[in-house]
Each structure stands twice: as C-alpha cells, then as structure tokens.
Amino acid sequence: MTQLTFARAINAGLRKSLENDSKVVLLGEDIGALGGVFRVTDGLQKDFGKHRVVDTPLAESAIVGTAVGLAYRGYRPVVEIQFDGFIYPAFDQIVSQVAKLHYRTRGAVRMPITIRVPFGGGIGSPEHHSESPEAYFTHTSGLRVVTVANPQDAYTVIQQAIACDDPVLYFEPKRRYHDKGEVDESMDPRSALPMDKARVLTDGSDVTLVAYGPLVKTALDAASAAADEGISIEVIDLRSLAPVDYEPVVASVRKTGRLVVTHEAAQSGGLGAEVAASITERCFYHLESAPVRVTGFDIPYPYSKLEMHHLPGLDRILDGVDRALGRPNSLSGLEG
C-alpha cells in the first residue's frame, strides 16, 4: 500500500493500462510534456512516446472524433477533456457517434473509448472550469458514466474503464485531486469492485444518503456530524452514474425508509431526480417521507466568491437529512 493523491493514482492507473495493452493511446491538449494542466498524465509521454501519449491541437470535437477513428482501427483511446466546461464542442461526437456506433453497426464496431473529464467546483476558477455536466451524458444510451471518490477507486476504475468495450465517461472530482489515500497498486482491476457497482460506505438505520464524486467526502463528514446528534446515516457512493446500481440503494431505503440524494449539478433534470424517481417506484411502500434532493441551484455555475453557496456543503446536506426525518429544518412550515 502506498499513499497517493487522486491525481497520482489516476496517473498510476493510466501507466498500468499503457503497459498492459499496446493498443491504449492517450489523446488530449497539453497532456505530453506538461503532463496535463492537473499533471494527471505527468511523465507518461516521456516513458511511452509521442505516439502513445499524443499532444493534440486545441479542438475537442477532433480529439473525440479522431478517437472514434482510432477505435475503428482497433485502438483503445483515452482522451482528456481539459475542463468540464470544454466538453460541449465535443458533445456531438460523444452522443451521436461514440455512444451510438455499436448500435448503428449492430455490434460490428466497438468503441472502447474512455473520456476523462475533470469536473465539479470548489477550486475558485472562472466560469467553464467548475461544471458538472454528467446528466447530459447519463441521458444518452450507449455511454457508461462513472466517477470516483477515493484514490484506490481512481486507480482501479480508470483501468476498468479502459478495459471496457463500451465507451466510458470517467469524471474526476478535481477539487479532490490533491487528497491522499491508501492505494494498493498490486490490486488487479479485474478482481476489484466493478465500476458499475455502488458501494455502501457506512452502516446506518435512519437515512440513506446517496452521493458521488466530490460530494462523497462531504456526505461522510455529514454522516459523522449527524452521528454526534444520534442520527444514523447510511452513505452510499454511487460510483456509476449510468447505469446506476440500484440494488444497494433499494436495500438501504427499505431499511431506513428515507432517502437524501446530493450532487453539485443543478437540480432540474439531474441525476438526483432520476434516483429519487426510481427509488420511489421501487420502494414506495417503504418510504417514510418524500425523497429529498440537496443539489446545486438551477443557475450557471457562479463566480468563485459565491460558489460555496451553490455547492452542497455539510450543513445543507444535514438540513436535507432533517427534512427527510421531519425534524425542524429550513423549510419547516412551508407548504408544497
């Protein structure tokens, strides 16, 4: 076991994939000599060469579109989108090509493309650098969407994503890049928890709290604070956003009778709405109260001096827990 930051853990996972499969190629802006703006690809071009770790011109549609061609040719491209807000120029290639080519060719052509996207806020950046665009992609059939919440997962899931024959959007919680954690680099990703499975992080009996990516740590902090007040929260790290692994969530809600979902992305049409609806369908008679969403607001990502109001923090999550429990909360007395 070694202590690694998120960024180093992803780097180590990429390195393993490059070592194990000569068909793995990395593409992106600034990923070579610079090692990426977050240094996630640091040293990889030096060790694997410019044909395996390709510094590309600045054009997102082309980065993804050429990855499609490489996949046609039998490669496993891993592309880096420099920031979440820069993914939109590549949107057409992702949703109309990457997602659909397997279907369009009735299984003849595989698109084992991994699209790495640093996402989420909390780092004081200007606009376009802190967004959570995951719902655009979870809405598109043919794509798998995953995110990670600790360095061990960061290390194994990136390898699972690259090995997967389906296209995978791999969302990296950028405000956690420098957080450290134990990583077992000898762990075989094939024996690790599959990337499409959710994980129950804490046992709890009062409320099920679902989170993913950057908010898993905040959710754990909230559970810990709630425990001091005698409230028992079961925290679930969703990990896979498409498909969502509902089984552990269903099992948990049947036990607790209450659901809170939290994410940084805007509320309307967000993944929280989907989870709440799906759990309501499956667990209606077990629910003691309506599912609660604690999310970003339906606004453009705000300027950094105010971003902490937008991002769900520990106290907003606990307020949501109070709502689920029917305890006094910020909306007490409000009808509808």
Binding site: P57, A62, T66, G69, Y72, Q93, T105
Partner: protein, 389 residues
C-alpha cells in the same frame, strides 16, 4: 453555369471572388464533355494502365449505379423505402475514386456514396437496410472496409483522420478516405479534421464532392472561394478535378492515395459535379433551383461523356450497350428482390447492441417490455394491435 453576383444578405460579392464550382483553367479534365480524350502532362501518368476494356468496365459500373439509384428511387415511390438520397450526376466522382482504392483502405462516407459502397462490394440488400427502416446501419464495416454512412454532416471526416492516425501508428501503408459534400466544408468537424490531418501528416484523403447544393443552399452561400483553396490554408495540398470525368477523378485519387502511402500526408480533392436530382426523395429542388442550370449540367453528364469517348474509339458497340444494360437490370432486380423480401426486425431487436456488455438499466427495461408484449399472448401480434389503436 450562372454567376450570381449577389451574396448572402444581398451584399455584392467582391470582384475578385471566384464562384465556387465554376469551371476554370485549374480544373483537371481528361475527357471533355463531348467525349474527347485530352492529354495532360502530369495526370496521364496516373491512368496510363486504363486500357479499353477498363474504360468499358468503368462505363458498366457507372451505368449500374445509376440503375441502382433509379431502382431505389422507384422503391421509395412505391413505399418500400422511407427515403433515398439519389446520386444522379455523381457517378463519375464515385466510381472514379472508388475504383482507385485498395481493399485495405478504409472509407468513411456520407449517406450519398452508394456508388462507392458498390465499388467496395456491398451486399445490395445491405445498401437499402437503413432506408427501409430495418436498421441504423446497413453492413458490417469490416466486411467491406467502409464505415456505415454518416448522416451528421462532416462528422466522418474526423473518424477518417483518427483511423489514418491509427494506420500511421501501425506502420501500414493503407489510406483512410473520407467523402463529404460542399455543405460539410462549412462544418467545424471538417475544419478540425484538416487541422489534425495536417498536424500529424495523417494518411487521409479528403474527397469533397462539390455537387453545388446543400439541400437548398447553393455552394456560393457556403464559400466565397473555391473549396479546394480552403485546404491550402491548413497546409494540405489540394486538387480541383472535373467530377463528371471518371478518368480525371481516378487520376487525382490515385495521386492522393500514392502520396498518403508514401508518407506524404493528406490531400484534399474537390470533385466539381452536380446533384442532378433532389437532395433526398423528400426534397423538391424546383422550389429553389433554376431549370437552366440543370440543363447546363445535363450537357456534362458523366456517363454520356464516357460513352462519347468509347464511341470515338469505336468500342461502344450495340453488344456492349446491351451487355451493360443487362448487367444493370440484373443488379436492380436482385436489389429489388432483396428489399422486398427483407424480413422485418423483431420488437426485442431494439434493445440489441446498445452496449457490448450487459447494462442493468436496459436489462430491466427490456424485461419489462418483454412482459408487456407477452401480456398480448403473441409478441408480434402485440405490435400490430398497438399500431391499430
């Protein structure tokens, strides 16, 4: 053709601007519209092996794909196909380039390159599968080394460029060829593809069929310069060729392929042709197109041009004409039979191939829908009952 001096928004075009699509001294031509073979100091080299029997073969290919096109249009009018994108007028561009390719080259085309697919050996039933609504893609791309046609304009130019980067990595000497129309030159993807192709010197040929119309938008709305000149700005050498001249197209394509195979990087070919029919069978070009323009281009027809050359050479015999007609009729008949006997897909097929590995969300939806269908007793019957509601 007409040279309209009025640009978009009624503004006058600059005096110096050349109308894209205009014939000019830079237009490579080896056969004149009247069928005269004219020599070219550089490009004769690239078709020096094309003897009389091969000219006859090209004549047959062009006639066959025109017949395929007519038959498919008829099938659409008879309700057997939902839609069809005719290639009438573009036979030389497709056969001249398609016949220049090697089996290990890989084609990424738009939806109109049915003649190129014919050159690649496509199964004729597969050619109609998409347009009949039986599938989103007609064939296994690896079976003929041609991607299923792209509907999003210009998206395939990036796929070709990426594929070419893969060829480069593999150290192979194959070439990726991408086909697109004049409308695609306005799209970001083609421009990004040219940036990447030039940056990496990828072995890719950009084959632009300038057929003058992007549905109802004339090429002069897309560009104030010749399309071939656009490539120069990306550092990509370009050729402007008479797209209705099968030999000229073949020569240009062979040069571009050879350059790519020898590590010379990408080439952009503008084949100047004309879409004689509608954009698709759902389109009505009489609403936006001058009949005189059509007449001008009819005089440059690619098949009668080659027939003119064969006639001058004394090889356009009645026997040859009958033989070609019989072949075209046989192909059309086979295609029609394949179309009308194509089995309908099964309801549960809609869930197939979304993912290559199981997906729990979809499996649940699939299971629920199967139960729903089963509630009617007969899954096939359920669909017809639904339709009757």
């Amino acid at each position: 053709m007409s040279t309209d001096e009025t640009g978009p928004g009624g503004a006058k075009t600059p005096e110096s601007a050349k109308t894209p699509g205009e014939a000019g001294p830079d237009l490579l031509q080896l056969i004149t519209p009247s069928g005269e073979r004219i020599s070219h100091p550089e490009f004769d080299f690239w078709v020096r092996d094309i003897a009389d029997d091969q000219l006859c073969s090209l004549f047959e290919d062009m006639t066959v794909i025109r017949r395929i096109d007519v038959e498919a249009t008829a099938l659409q009018r008879q309700g057997e196909l939902a839609l069809w994108p005719p290639l009438l007028g573009q036979e030389a561009a497709q056969i001249g380039s398609g016949r220049a390719l090697r089996a290990d080259d890989f084609v990424f085309s738009s939806y109109r390159e049915n003649g190129v697919a014919y050159c690649r050996g496509v199964d004729l039933t597969d050619l109609l599968r998409v347009w009949r609504g039986n599938a989103s893609g007609g064939w296994d791309p690896y079976s003929i080394n041609m991607a299923t046609p792209q509907i999003i304009i210009g998206a395939q130019t990036l796929h070709a460029t990426g594929y070419a980067m893969g060829i480069q990595n593999d150290g192979a000497d194959a070439v990726a060829v991408t086909y697109f129309g004049d409308g695609a030159t306005s799209e970001g993807d083609l421009n990004e593809a040219m940036v990447f192709a030039a940056s990496f010197q990828a072995p890719v040929v950009f084959f632009c069929t300038n057929n003058h119309w992007a549905i109802s938008e004339p090429v002069r709305l897309q560009s104030h310069i010749q399309l071939a000149d656009r490539a120069t700005g990306f550092g990509i050498p370009s050729l402007r060729v008479d797209g209705n001249d099968v030999l000229a197209v073949m020569a240009a394509t062979r040069l571009a392929l050879d350059r790519a195979r020898r590590g010379g990087g990408p080439t952009f070919i503008e084949a100047v042709s004309y879409r004689m029919g509608p954009h698709t069978t759902a389109d009505d070009p009489t609403r936006y197109r001058d009949a005189n323009e059509l007449e001008d281009w009819a005089a440059k027809d690619p098949i009668s041009r080659l027939a003119g050359l064969l006639d001058r050479k004394g090889i356009l015999t009645a026997e040859l004409q009958q033989q070609v007609k019989d072949k075209a009729d046989a192909v059309a008949s086979e295609m029609r039979r394949g179309c009308t006997t194509m089995p309908d897909p099964q309801p549960m097929d809609i869930f197939k191939h979304v993912y290559s590995t199981p997906n729990s969300w979809l499996e649940r939806q699939q299971d629920h829908y199967a139960r729903y269908l089963a509630s009617f007793g007969d899954p096939d019957g359920a669909v017809s009952k639904e339709g009757a509601r």
